[in-house]
Symmetry: C2
Subunit: 130 residues, 2 copies
């Protein structure tokens, strides 16, 4: 077997597959209910989604959320939200901006996100949290 | 330190704390949304809950579910459902009977279970599953 030309292969790798600035997302048809429920089965991730719904505007930097976890844990939580199809993440400069994929979720599972957010608010009120 | 009397200790253990036939459940006020969403973030557990809602009657033996997993995995799934507060499990003779805690879930999170079950049906229809 002949190795591919290292120059052309390297160029392709830098601009596509291994480019760390291209973040993978499931297409709408690839989003699975089980993964969405798993993504939302964590208090910090629920809070991120709630804050995105409450907040003004559509794009949120990861650093705009005040969370009781380290930066690397925050990064992990956003990755789970992205890989499940709950948020879309795009780089702008060196900042990752997050958008809730509300239209995709609503098209697949009408009413689900609202019902989970309502349940979150009910639980916070019951437990005396903000 | 003196060891407890082995006889009285053994008797207590058999009838209370370590009795494997007394199954632990969260009280209604102890049920947490995150745990319920985690319990429902698995295809097999979603199917169990869907079948309990569809089925006639209220009590279901674990063995009454036709699931594509081993018996010990089935036992694990029912334990996750019980410990999160989604089902109640009681022994009748040597059989564990399962009841959906619909009233408790509805009181805490109105509409949530229905919305998740609707999403399950939508996904099954979309993916061409039963």
């Amino acid at each position: 077997m002949k190795s591919p030309d290292p120059d052309s292969r390297g160029a392709a790798a830098v601009t596509t597959a291994t480019n760390p600035r291209v973040l993978e997302h499931p297409e709408r048809a690839e989003i699975r209910l089980e993964a969405v429920l798993h993504a939302l089965s964590d208090a910090v991730r629920l809070r991120i989604v709630r804050d995105m719904v409450r907040g003004e505007g559509e794009e949120f930097a990861c650093s705009s959320f005040v969370l009781p976890v380290t930066k690397s844990t925050t990064t992990h939580h956003f990755r789970v939200l992205r890989e499940s199809g709950v948020v879309r993440q795009l780089y702008r400069g060196t900042t990752k901006l997050n958008t809730l994929r509300r239209d995709d979720l609503e098209a697949l599972f009408p009413g689900l996100l609202d019902s989970i957010l309502t349940a979150t608010e009910a639980q916070s009120a019951r437990l005396g949290e903000e």
